[in-house]
């Protein structure tokens, strides 16, 4: 994972003074942060520190929460994603998201993956759609396990398979960014290992931002790590620096297990 380190020249997101409030109560107090294209950026921090709220800023999922307001400037490739003429529907096609609890649609495996391409009109005909479904499942490392039962319902898979199905569903619409909100928290260690391996692979092609409670996981899969505490970005650095040489006392306390 070292070859993709923070030295990667391209910046995907630039955030300036980002504030998120729920019904007037501020949960994030002015975050300034740049996120690299390609590679994995991990957000860590104790529960309620605002890391998930921040993640949902990037695909404007916060818009769907009643009473939630976002202010500040968030640019993706230099374009303001909160510009009034920007359609969040199109943004979400470019910025996919994987949730904490696997949430495949209660439809067939095939339809789960094909849903995105269908609504975005990405496939001209059935064979193109078949191709997208197959490659997406392959990229998600699920193809070999499900190729003989694409008609089976997606909710019948195991937790780890469901989460990879959700990733395949996300990949199928060809996003540039994949946001992951504690994707492994509902999985057993073996499924988690498989998922991490997959994330590592996907990091070659996508900008991945992941929220995680497991510091070991952040250390294993991410190139850069941001530590959040009580709505503030406390420290943001190359992952190895955060874990071996934290500059802030709060980061040190958290990663050594004294707080959190």
């Amino acid at each position: 994972m070292t070859e993709l380190k923070s030295t990667h020249p391209k910046i995907k997101f630039t955030c300036r003074d980002v504030r998120v409030a729920y019904s007037g109560k501020e949960a994030l107090h002015g975050i300034n942060m740049d996120i690299d294209d390609r590679g994995v950026t991990a957000f860590i921090g104790p529960s309620g520190c605002g890391k998930s709220s921040f993640l949902r800023v990037f695909n404007r999922m916060n818009d769907t929460i009643p009473g939630c307001t976002v202010s500040g400037e968030i640019k993706m490739d230099g374009d303001d994603i909160y510009a009034p003429d920007l359609d969040p529907v199109l943004l979400r096609a470019r910025v996919g998201m994987v949730f904490q609890k696997p949430n495949p649609f209660p439809k067939s495996i095939y339809d789960n993956v094909a849903y995105g391409p269908r609504i975005h009109g990405l496939a001209a005909n059935k064979s193109e759609l078949d191709h997208i479904v197959e490659t997406s499942l392959q990229k998600a490392g699920l193809w070999d396990e499900v190729k003989d039962r694409l008609k089976d319902t997606g909710t019948g898979l195991s937790g780890g398979q469901q989460q990879r199905l959700v990733i395949a569903r996300t990949i199928a619409v060809s996003p540039e960014v994949i946001l992951m909100d504690e994707p492994a928290s509902a999985l057993d260690p073996i499924a988690t290992a498989k998922l991490e391996e997959l994330i590592d692979e996907l990091a070659q092609k996508y900008c991945i931002v992941i929220v995680t409670h497991s510091m070991a996981q952040a250390a294993r899969i991410s190139q850069r790590t941001a530590f959040f505490h009580m709505g503030n970005l406390v420290e943001y650095d190359v992952t190895s620096n955060i874990f071996t040489n934290p500059k802030d006392m709060r980061t040190q306390d958290y990663i050594t297990g004294r707080t959190g």
């Binding site: 999922m61 769907t64 009643p66 529907v89 979400r92 096609a93 209660p106 609504i119 959700v166 996300t170």
Partner: protein
């Protein structure tokens, strides 16, 4: 374990434990008592209704030979159906009865004799036959017509033969004739198809539920047409698209309150809006359906919202996160999974509407109608109102008719509700 150490084995603790168990036993016994009360009330209701109602499903019919005397029906020998319709068929029936009992000569006795047969049912029966086929005039026919409701009640054992004849509706002489006719099998019990095919009538022996049943169907059709699409649409908007503000909160509170408003208020509303303002005719299923539709709206909205809310938010999030629009997320994902619940709720709302009486009284669907309605713009009545009308009649024969109509209504409700349960079990998705 030494007895001194455990605080859970002390005398005090054991006493408390005993008390706790006693409390539990008392609660279980009370629960059993409650269930017992509910079940016995239901059983009582069913037994009393079925116990009286079953008698309406058979009826004593009189088979007799009549001569369609030409000189009475068609003296000009024109065989014109329209003129035949106005002829005196009562005379034909009377003559047939006098023929059957030739020794009856006294005027009073003759009148009593005629009263054992359905006084309007029998003449109308042959009137219809002659109208349909004028060639029958001049011929001898064997017809089967209902006995009068009093004779029917006598044979069903609802009239006491042992009390003095001045105190009962059937005279001793009539009883003698009827007994003779029963012995010769000229009067015998038949399955009462008239109850299902006839409209309402002044005569109990002729009254049926056909007009009320059809009226109910048409009314319910209009109700469903209004309440289901509008209710589901309103629920989707409120649940998914409504802005969060005081005004929407106000609407929501009012919809919930509307479900608890007494139904007769909806009748007054319908009277004011549809009949007085829009000038629609009274007593028609369209107006009834609209009123019941308004009545059912809050139920459908509440049921739909409950089913929509039961769909996990993660499904919607999943759809949104891959770039589905809000409408797509709702219609592709939320609605299909809320479908069984919405359907069940709508069916239950329809079942409620089917049993509704009070608002329909306000808009005149309580009219006495002897015609079967042919379209939703014909005056009609509905099953529960029919029951209400019959229950107000004084003759003994209406008691069983009322119970039988209740049985039919309950049967329809049971069918509708089982459909709802079947749909729910079949289509319900779990995740």
């Amino acid at each position: 374990m030494t007895e001194a150490t455990s605080i859970h084995a002390s005398e005090h603790a054991l006493k408390r434990l005993k008390k706790r168990h006693a409390k539990e036993r008392r609660f279980k016994a009370l629960g059993l008592l409650a269930i017992g009360l509910a079940v016995s009330a239901l059983a009582w209701l069913l037994i009393s209704i079925v116990g009286t109602g079953y008698k309406a499903f058979y009826q004593y019919d009189f088979t007799l030979e009549v001569e369609m005397t030409e000189s009475i029906l068609d003296p000009q020998q024109e065989r014109d159906p329209d003129k035949l319709r106005k002829a005196n068929y009562r005379r034909i029936i009377q003559n047939a009865l006098y023929e059957r009992f030739p020794d009856v000569t006294d005027r009073k006795a003759k009148r009593e004799l005629f009263n054992i047969i359905s006084s309007s049912g029998a003449p109308n029966h042959i009137r219809q036959m002659a109208y349909n086929n004028p060639d029958l005039v001049g011929q001898k026919l064997i017809i089967t017509v209902p006995t009068s409701d009093d004779v029917d009640q006598l044979l069903k054992g609802n009239i006491d033969r042992n009390i003095d004849q001045s105190k009962r509706k059937v005279s001793d002489q009539q009883i003698a004739w009827v007994d003779e006719l029963v012995k010769t099998k000229e009067i015998k019990a038949e399955f009462n198809t008239r109850f299902f095919t006839n409209p309402d009538s002044r005569d109990a022996e002729l009254a049926g539920i056909a007009s009320a049943f059809l009226g109910s169907l048409m009314t319910l059709f209009v109700t469903a047409l209004l309440a289901i699409p509008v209710g589901i649409g309103a629920a989707i908007w409120l649940d998914e698209f409504a802005p969060r503000n005081k005004f929407v909160d106000f609407i929501e509170i009012n919809i919930n309150n509307l479900a608890a408003v007494p139904s007769i208020i909806f009748g007054v509303l319908g009277l004011a809006i549809f009949i007085n303002f829009f000038g629609l005719p009274r007593s028609i299923p369209i107006v009834g359906g609209l009123v019941l539709g308004l009545r059912a709206l809050p139920t459908v909205i509440i049921a739909t919202r409950a089913s929509l809310m039961a769909v996990p938010q993660s499904i919607r999030d999943g759809a949104l996160s891959i770039g589905a629009s809000h409408v797509q997320a709702v219609f592709h994902h939320k609605l299909p999974h809320a479908g069984p619940g919405i359907m069940t709720g709508s069916i239950i709302a329809m079942a409620q509407a089917l049993g509704e009486t009070a608002p329909l009284l306000m808009i005149g669907m309580v009219a006495f109608l002897t015609e079967i309605p042919k379209s939703p713009t014909d005056p009609a009545t509905v099953l529960p109102v029919q029951i209400f009308i019959w229950a107000g009649n004084s003759e003994r024969a209406w008691v069983e008719k009322t119970s039988a109509a209740i049985m039919i209504l309950l049967l329809v409700l049971i069918i509708i509700n089982s459909m709802a349960i079947w749909l729910r079990n079949r289509l319900e998705k779990r995740w």
